[in-house]
Symmetry: C2
Subunit: 147 residues, 2 copies
């Protein structure tokens, strides 16, 4: 039913539409990039900078900058890693957890409300979309650190 050409087209459309969604969201958020880090910390617990960068598929300096920004907002706290004097552990603060909840609600309003309004897709389809994205990213092998 779906030809290789269809898949190529769909793959490209996935990227294009993802970019549009990101831009739409960016307008309604003060720190769109920081949210990804907050979300990671919620998932992983206290984590070092480099591990966060790997998980977010960004470079380490980028993550350093994100963490600094989040720290200025009081959403994360850094502490020395007792097991490794080179490292830092970044952890969510209560304010960070509150911010994450706030943003999730905002995203839900943006995404879920529109899906519901359209009626063409249900929660299962949404879950499928997320799973597809996650699948593509989990298999990402492009190196971000010094090659």
């Amino acid at each position: 039913m779906t030809t290789p050409d269809d898949v190529e087209r769909l793959s490209s459309e996935l990227v294009v539409h993802a970019a549009r969604l990101v831009r739409v969201v960016r307008r309604s958020l003060a720190y769109p990039a920081g949210v990804r880090t907050l979300s990671l910390l919620d998932e992983l617990g206290p984590t070092g900078i480099s591990a966060l960068a790997t998980a977010d598929h960004c470079s380490q300096p980028t993550m350093t900058g994100q963490v600094r920004q989040l720290e200025e907002q009081g959403w994360v706290a850094r502490s020395p890693n007792p097991a490794d004097a080179r490292g830092t552990l970044v952890a969510l603060t209560d304010a960070g957890r509150a911010e994450l909840a706030r943003v999730r609600t905002a995203n839900a309003r943006l995404v879920a409300d529109r899906l519901r309004a359209s009626g063409a897709h249900d929660a299962r389809d949404l879950a499928t979309a997320v799973a597809v994205l996650r699948d593509v990213l989990d298999r990402d092998t492009t190196r971000r650190d010094h090659p």
Copy 2:
């Protein structure tokens, strides 16, 4: 089965993962944003700047910049709109069509190959993901021009 909380979480994850995908793609592309415009022109045919901005969910000055960049690369051509002296019509050139084909192939390699490798999702799931994103965006009502 899926609670409202799940939907909220999924909505947020959709945004987060979309942003990560966009970043991964950005690394492998010279002009990641321009591709969206090329894709639109392929879909719509010759179109004015403002209409492109609306379709891409970006501001008009952003689209002006994108078109200028694409024109410098020789991927689009501008011509005066015979029906409206204020307007311009932007159209794909042959080089632009070739570039679009090249990028689509690259995106397919990035996305489709990994999905195939994982085996957890098929073309239908990919189509669902694209449809969900399109649905959310089509229902976007946030205004981008002077409010």
